[in-house]
């Protein structure tokens, strides 16, 4: 029994370990200090958007990653949370209710929860493909109705508000973006902590059980429908918080926010980041938001790159980015990272070459067909090309084909090295 006590104690201790506190402290500090590092207005509003999306993606992962439910309509709760928040803001502004701004995301949470309960009661009767289709149908219905019910949804142009109209909070008006950033950051911290906490509860574990083997959970006493229903409602609640923050950040909510595009992008974020790991959606939300804003400046065909990235992850790294990082844990633990890292580098170089080659091909053909009016010249990676000459095509093709070929070989070597390191570590 001595080992038993050891395990029990270590499990108990893992809950409040020093490292755990250190991670949360570091996260809080990072959120606090980021504006010092990136003080520009664009950076602040980008980070505010990222904070919102982190909550949204994590709430989605309560469904996809934790409970195994693929929803195509999660943005409904994001949008409804935003609408509730914006109406509350306007009412508070009009009637002078003494409620400070930082409280308002709770209204969004309430909206998200209410409709999470309502739609969840319908959708969670089913799972798998049928669940996916119900959520798709609900999403279409809500968006279509939003355009018809103009009083509440404000039609196509949506509902606007002024966040500075409500009671000021210790002298902060929340007019400047930096103050909004801190509001988003605070709620982001609270929500991330809360969602993390949920994964560490009896309910959180049962969600995982339902994801892994729904039928078996019935034989350990749980009703899988109820588990899914609670998960769906809670996901709605947190999506509502995210929607509320978005409403405060942009001071406008509209029907498109509940639409299929938004629901699709949260799937991209969550999956690219990694569904199997709590931190995955955080990484995904940051990366995809950044791509959406920055890659779109660099190239008009950025959705192609994001789509290819997504397919690549689905095919080759179902654990997402976080999954790939987590795979390095055992290697680091075994102290063998220095043995594997050179192989990663060896694979990364042709990988990068392949990506460059592919992007040259894509950009060249894009310039050739769509942007022909802007002339045949194009600057790729600081080098000028003429798309009517065969040169860029050949260069792109050679780089892409050669890169892929070398990458596949190097990847095999890297995998061997990885497996060797793991095996050695265990021995």
């Amino acid at each position: 029994m001595s080992e038993a006590t050891v395990i029990s104690r270590s499990v108990r201790a893992s809950r409040g370990g020093l490292t755990a506190y250190a991670i949360w402290l570091a996260l809080a500090l990072a959120l606090l200090l980021l504006p010092q590092l990136f003080p520009s207005r664009l950076a602040l509003s980008t980070m505010s958007l990222m904070g919102t999306m982190i909550i949204f993606a994590l709430s989605y992962n309560m469904l996809l990653g934790q409970t195994g439910l693929l929803s195509f309509g999660h943005a409904v709760f994001f949008g409804l949370g935003g609408y509730f928040c914006v109406h509350a803001l306007n009412l508070a502004g009009d009637y002078g209710w003494p409620i400070p701004l930082p409280i308002f995301p709770l209204v969004g949470a309430l909206g998200g929860l209410t409709f999470g309960v309502l739609f969840g009661a319908v959708a969670t009767k089913r799972a798998g493909t049928a669940f996916a289709m119900i959520t798709l149908g609900i999403g279409e219905l809500v968006v279509s109705l939003a355009l018809i019910l103009r009083r509440f949804f404000g039609g196509e142009e949506g509902i606007t508000t002024d966040r500075t109209d409500v009671l000021s909070f210790f002298g902060y008006s929340f007019g400047p973006q930096s103050q909004v950033y801190y509001l988003v950051a605070a709620w982001c911290f609270i929500s991330v902590a809360a969602m993390y906490a949920v994964t560490r509860t009896p309910f959180g574990r049962i969600c995982n059980a339902v994801r892994d083997n729904p039928q078996r959970t019935a034989f350990i006493g749980y009703d899988m429908g109820t588990v899914r229903f609670i998960a769906f409602s809670l996901a709605g609640l947190f999506a509502g918080i995210a929607g509320g923050l978005s409403a405060i950040n942009f001071e406008i909510v509209n029907a498109a926010q509940m639409g299929a595009v938004e629901s699709g992008s949260v799937i991209l974020m969550t999956y690219i980041g990694g569904v199997g790991n709590f931190a995955g959606p955080i990484i995904g939300a940051i990366l995809v938001t950044w791509l959406q804003l920055v890659l779109s400046d660099a190239t008009q065909i950025w959705p192609l790159y994001v789509g290819l990235l997504f397919i690549g992850i689905v095919m080759f790294a179902p654990g997402g980015i976080a999954g790939m990082l987590a795979m390095q844990g055992p290697v680091i633990a075994a102290g063998k990272l220095h043995r594997v890292a050179p192989y990663y580098l060896l694979a990364a170089i042709p990988g990068a070459i392949a990506v460059i080659g592919l992007s040259i091909l894509a950009e060249t053909s894009h310039q050739f067909s769509i942007r022909a009016a802007y002339g045949p010249s194009i600057t790729l990676y600081s080098l000028p090309f003429d798309v009517t000459s065969p040169l860029p095509w050949i260069v792109g093709l050679v780089l892409a084909a050669g890169g892929v070929w070398l990458f596949l070989r190097a990847a095999r070597l890297a995998r061997n090295a990885y497996e060797e390191a793991i095996a050695g570590g265990a021995a």
């Binding site: 590092l37 990136f38 003080p39 520009s40 207005r41 664009l42 950076a43 509003s45 980008t46 958007l49 279509s144 355009l147 018809i148 103009r150 039609g155 196509e156 142009e157 949506g158 606007t160 002024d162 500075t164 007019g175 400047p176 973006q177 978005s246 942009f250 001071e251 406008i252 509209n254 029907a255 498109a256 926010q257 595009v261 959406q292 804003l293 920055v294 890659l295 779109s296 400046d297 660099a298 190239t299 008009q300 065909i301 950025w302 959705p303 992007s359 950009e363 769509i370 022909a372 009016a373 194009i378 600057t379 790729l380 990676y381 600081s382």
Partner: protein, 415 residues
Amino acid sequence: MRNLLTSTALALTVLASAGLPAMAQETLKIGYVDPLSGGGASIGQIGMNQLNFIADEINAKGGVNGKQVEVVGYDNQLNPQISLVQVQKAIDDGIQIIVQGNGSSVAVAVSDFVTKYNERNPGANIVHLNYAAIDPVLTNEKCSYWHFTWDASADIKMEALTNFIKEDQNLQKVYLISQDYSFGHAVAGAAKRMLEAKRPDVEIVGDEYHPLVKITDFAPYVAKIQASGADTVITGNWGQDLALLIKAAGQAGLDVNWYTLYAGGAGAPTAIKQAGLENKVFQINEGINNQGYGPAEERAGALMSRFSDAPVYYPRMFNMMDMVFAAIEEAGSDDPGDFIPKLEGMKHDSFAAGDEGFMRADDHQFFQPLYISTLGALEDGQKFDEEHTGWGWKMAAAVPTESTLLETTCEMERP
């Protein structure tokens, strides 16, 4: 802007730069915030093309106040929230002039944001130049000192259109069909109101709304129009909702006159030609090809020969940029705080035929002569066809500026 690495590096430096105040620049930068990727990109790219064309024109003449004009595109993905981030990006890039047009939702968001931004950051002086969003709220309840619009609002267009229609003595039964959202309701509501006042004898036999871009088969709607015995249809539809409606009507052999606001939009002329509705479809706008006005034909011809794969343009965008450049030169400054007073009340000979229009100071709406035209086979002397169909727009009537004036409820707050 097409270089991945540099723009990434650029973005990083922008992120890292300590919010430096916009420095004096040798170029006058104009931010174009419209969809440049995804489904809306087809229309966004047309505006971008034209703006670049205008910039090249003026730069060839030495620029504005000696400064070269540079157009910077910001892809808003037709999403209001992304638009606002892109506007902030533009502001961080030192841009004070934002050009935007597509989508009422985006226009309201941008106008609202710019107004609040200027209020919260005195001296920022960002101006929103709107060339396409025509929801009447923009120049009424939600009007702003920092927002100017060059397209006639739905109410104005309908006022002019009904003035034209009421002269048609054969007109007896009118059918209204529009998309079920605020703009569609604005169009149909105005049509009903104005027809009842101007032609009380005309019967409105249908007042139909259908969901926005959700219909694949318009045959049932066409059957309904057919059954109502209507001789005229008025629609605010645009894009595929217009093209599919027209196609279905052509297939069913529906013989009515069509009055539209957006039959000039991308894809519609193709559909009209396919449906064989020669001289049956009317549109109202601020100018068409083939008006026989020399300066316009020359300029439009140069534009369309350069962008021959998408030979479409907005006459109002010429009006807009010509007026803004004139105001800047008059004020001797490209700070909107300085040139907005010059823009207010400015008179301008409109691009399409040289008739005079003016920017009303009360609501920042540009009033201009409007033209009603129909699409049909090219006749002698007509130079331009649409979308390579061999059919071109032909003038049916001109509505002088005076006949387009409408009251506004705008109570503008001035700084």
